[in-house]
């Protein structure tokens, strides 16, 4: 996984935070951006992303004394909390509204600058990803935006690696069929 600290370094940091919660700040500094970016990619609105990100790190702080190092990156645990928090958030909301909003944001905008064409293409592709069923979307974002390994994604989503592979395969197939020419 790119951009992560070496595992030993991360393990030491996590162990320290388990013993002394005030050391959690360093973990927060390292992973805030990743988690916020992931949450924002699902929630698509700043206030909501802030709510969920707060919840993720609060839960992580409360739970870190019980955190067990299973050999997976610490971030996988944070993503797992984030996935659950996002699911909780939308359980009490109308998901159709969410999807409509995402489409509004993701498509049909007038180009704003010289990069408009490329951005438009990226928007189209990710707009298709947004229309995928929830688990497919999550697997696609974690794999392609967050560069996670399939086993880590499986751990985050509480699924087997085989199930995650299936989700990604189906997701990519759908994207291919929807925006194939752009990709070619």
């Amino acid at each position: 996984m790119s951009g992560l600290p070496p595992r030993e370094d991360e393990s030491r940091l996590v162990e320290r935070a388990k013993q002394d919660p005030t050391a959690f700040g360093e973990l927060y500094d390292r992973y805030f951006h990743q988690i916020y970016r992931f949450v924002y990619s699902r929630v698509k609105e700043q206030a909501g992303a802030e709510d969920v990100t707060s919840e993720v790190f609060m839960k992580a702080l409360r739970g870190i004394p019980r955190y067990q190092d299973t050999g997976r990156p610490f971030s996988a645990w944070l993503y797992q909390i984030a996935v659950n928090a996002i699911a909780d958030r939308y359980r009490s909301r109308r998901i159709t509204e969410d999807i409509d909003e995402l489409r509004t944001i993701s498509t049909g905008e007038a180009p704003m600058d010289e990069m408009a064409a490329q951005r438009d293409e990226i928007r189209r592709i990710w707009a298709v990803v947004e229309t995928l069923p929830g688990p497919q979307r999550t697997a696609m974002v974690l794999k392609f935006q967050e560069d996670m390994k399939i086993e880590d994604i499986a751990s985050v989503m509480g699924k087997t690696p085989g199930a995650v592979k299936l989700l990604i395969h189906r997701g990519v197939t759908r994207v291919r069929s929807e925006v194939g020419r752009a990709v070619s």
Partner: protein
């Protein structure tokens, strides 16, 4: 695209087309999301506070017990345990085993708090928003709206501003619940004191000549060139302390101090639009197809978005902009406007956007998402500082009011000003509710209700802008930025005698607040000492103590200055009562200004009803009376002015805690008048009345 091999993808996709799609997905990145640095820092602070609490709980039991505080409290703790046990057995009530919710605010116990800002109430965990909002009350009675950022509730006065000189107390009742439905458990209170506005807020005093009168600019406006500009100026704003002008000219964004300091170039070129944040710390601007922000001292440049924005503004700490037909914040689209604007302006609070498209002019309300078409083409010239009212030109007239409302006050017909045909008009709305209008060879002032239209000066004053304390104006003529005062010394509100006396007032009251009797006595002349010798309190020992003071009214009087000063006494951090003192400061025989006279009014309990916090005699026909609470507008008909011959004829209007009285005849500069605020005629939005009638003596302005 150059993407590193991913063995997992290679193994997952046999089909070459799908594999290519997978790599394409890996290569293309969605834009980085907008991150509010304030949120990031606030969350970190919350986490660290919580972590600290957790680490305290993790201390070994023997350390806790053997620590000195623990030993000291051991007996009390044991007793408490017994009491709690007995109480539990007796009442058989539930004990909440969870830890209490922590509530805090950056404003708690703060003084001199700025008037244009929301009140943040931060919780240490996610909260149930409706129950929290229902549990919040604010003293003095204030209409507020709520917004959330993360776990922080922002309480925003609907009027836009907090009242000056006021201790606000925000209560959060124990009925507030966390997102997990755990009740708050115990009430929480946040209190702070707002700042004193520049006292009194002056307004331009007109030339005594009949209007319009031809005067030369050199005679009417005393101005000095501050900075040579690289080109025509397109935007300017003053810093909150009236010490610095920020200007966009010839594509440069400059920080121009009014004092001797050097001008700083914040952005060297290409700037098209700019907006100063409400807290005055940063400027948002548009340059080369990007929206960015920069600190007013030139630090911390940060990109917000890639967009060739038509307009830029601020809503709290968020940058707003209009690009194409969209209204955005960061990279988030907030709304699609009803039509593509050709021009757009954000209100100072970022709650409104006025824009014009090919078909019509609109007002978009960012709080409600409502888009209203205005009756006529609207070209805003100036927003009122509170951000709801504006001055604009429509159908050949200069209008003021709420652009969304169907009615507006006509300030002047353009033909009567008279403005040169096609002349560019600029305007500025002061915190003292005076509107300056410049264009076509003249400078005028007018009140928002259309009264008091006066020609102040001839000449060109493009981009005229009030300083926040209304002591100066700035304008950009040709390629020079100017700062000046109108009619020489007529703009600054403090007369010469008061300017001399003000340090004495500050020294005298400051010594009393510190409990330094000797220092206070040193600023009293013989007559002043006698005033405090008959049982009057000079300094307070113990509680209540003199917590703060502020000036209600300040007017030159003879060779000295007469002040009505409000003294606020407190117990702990809570203001409990206040009373007014009338102080006369004048030179003694050696010319040294000292406190010569003092009389005290009756004390009042605080928190029982609305109070007058500021009185301004803005010109011979206008008085402004500011209250600490949002009021029933009927108050405007209740306030009276008594003169030597009885009650003066006056029309009152009420807006945002301020009553403006327009007198039918001007006040006599040598006359003495009484302002009367009858308790029965004043009611706050909570239905409470002042404890007693309020009266204040004042003289006509020079």
């Amino acid at each position: 695209m150059n993407v590193p091999r991913d063995l997992e993808l290679d193994q997952l996709f046999d089909d070459a087309e799908l594999l290519r799609t997978a790599y394409y997905l890996k290569a293309v990145r969605t834009p980085e999301p907008p991150v509010d640095p304030a949120f990031r820092m606030a969350l970190r602070r919350e986490l660290m506070q919580r972590a600290w609490t957790m680490s305290e709980r993790k201390r070994p039991w023997w350390r806790v017990l053997l620590g000195p505080p623990a030993l000291a409290w051991a007996g009390a703790a044991a007793a408490a345990v017994v009491v709690a046990l007995v109480a539990t057995l007796f009442y058989a009530g539930p004990i909440n085993p969870g830890e209490p919710v922590r509530v805090q605010s950056d404003l708690d116990n703060a003084t001199n708090v700025g008037l244009v800002q929301p009140i943040p109430v931060a919780f240490d965990q996610p909260m149930d928003h409706p129950s929290v909002e229902a549990a919040v009350t604010i003293e003095p009675a204030t209409k507020v709206s709520y917004s959330w950022q993360g776990n922080t509730l922002y309480v925003q006065p609907v009027s836009g501003n907090l009242a000056p000189n006021t201790q606000y107390v925000v209560h959060v009742a124990p009925t507030a619940r966390t997102a997990a439905q755990k009740p708050l458990g115990k009430p929480q209170t946040i209190s702070f004191v707002t700042q004193t506005p520049p006292t009194p807020r002056p307004s331009p005093r007109p030339s005594p000549r009949p209007t319009p009168s031809p005067t030369t600019p050199q005679q009417a406006v005393v101005a000095s060139g501050l900075q040579t500009l690289q080109g025509p100026a397109s935007w300017s704003a003053w810093s909150a302390d009236s010490s610095t002008i920020y200007v966009v000219a010839g594509g440069q964004l400059l920080n121009v101090p009014v004092g001797p300091q050097k001008t700083r170039t914040l952005v060297a070129d290409g700037v098209r639009q700019a907006a100063l944040a409400a807290d005055g710390s940063r400027i948002a601007y548009v340059r080369a197809g990007r929206v960015a922000t920069i600190g007013v001292d030139g630090s911390g440049q940060a990109d917000v978005a890639t967009a060739d924005a038509l307009a830029v503004g601020w809503q709290q700490s968020r940058v707003l902009y209009v690009a194409g037909q969209d209204l955005l914040s960061g990279r988030t689209k907030l709304a699609t406007l009803a039509e593509r604007p050709s021009s757009a302006w954000f209100s100072p609070t970022g709650e409104r956007l006025v824009y014009s498209g090919a078909a019509s002019s609109h007002v978009f309300d960012l709080r409600t998402g409502q888009d209203s078409v205005t009756r006529s083409a609207t070209v805003p010239l100036a927003w009122a500082p509170e951000g709801r009212q504006a001055a604009w030109v429509a159908n050949g007239s200069l209008l003021a009011g709420d652009p969304e409302a169907s009615s507006a006050a006509t300030l002047a017909a353009l033909g009567n000003l008279p403005l040169a045909s096609g002349a560019a008009i600029s305007a500025s709305w002061s915190t003292g509710d005076d509107i300056l209008v410049a264009g076509g060879g003249g400078l005028w002032t007018v009140r928002p209700d259309g009264s008091g239209l006066r020609r102040l000066a001839d000449g060109e004053y493009p981009l005229v802008t009030w300083a926040p304390d209304a002591s100066h104006i700035s304008f950009a003529r040709s390629t020079t930025l100017w700062s000046g005062v109108v009619n020489g010394s007529s703009l600054p509100g403090r007369g010469g005698a008061c300017e001399v006396a003000n340090p004495v007032l500050d020294g005298f009251m400051g010594a009393r607040a510190r409990g330094d009797a000797d220092a206070a006595l040193a600023l009293l002349d013989e007559n002043g000492r006698r005033a405090y010798s008959g049982g009057r309190t000079l300094v307070w020992r113990g509680e209540p103590r003199l917590h703060r003071y502020y000036t209600i009214l300040e007017q030159p009087s003879g060779a000295g200055c007469r002040y009505v000063v409000r003294l606020v006494l407190s117990r702990g951090n809570l203001d409990v009562n206040d009373f007014d003192e009338v102080l006369l400061i004048q030179p003694d025989v050696s010319g040294r200004p000292l406190v010569h006279g003092s009389t005290a009014g009756q004390p009042r309990l605080l928190g029982k009803g609305p109070e007058v916090v500021l009185v301004e005699v803005t010109d011979p026909t206008h008085l402004r009376i500011s209250f600490d609470s949002d009021l029933d507008p009927a108050v405007s008909q209740a306030i009276q002015v008594q003169g030597p011959g009885g009650r003066l004829a006056a029309q009152g209007s009420y807006s945002d805690r301020i009553v403006t009285l327009t007198l039918s005849a001007p006040l006599d500069p040598s006359g003495t008048y009484q302002l009367l605020v009858p308790a029965r005629g004043v009611k706050d939005v909570g239905g409470r009345q002042p404890q007693a009638d309020y009266s204040l003596e004042f003289s006509g302005p020079d």
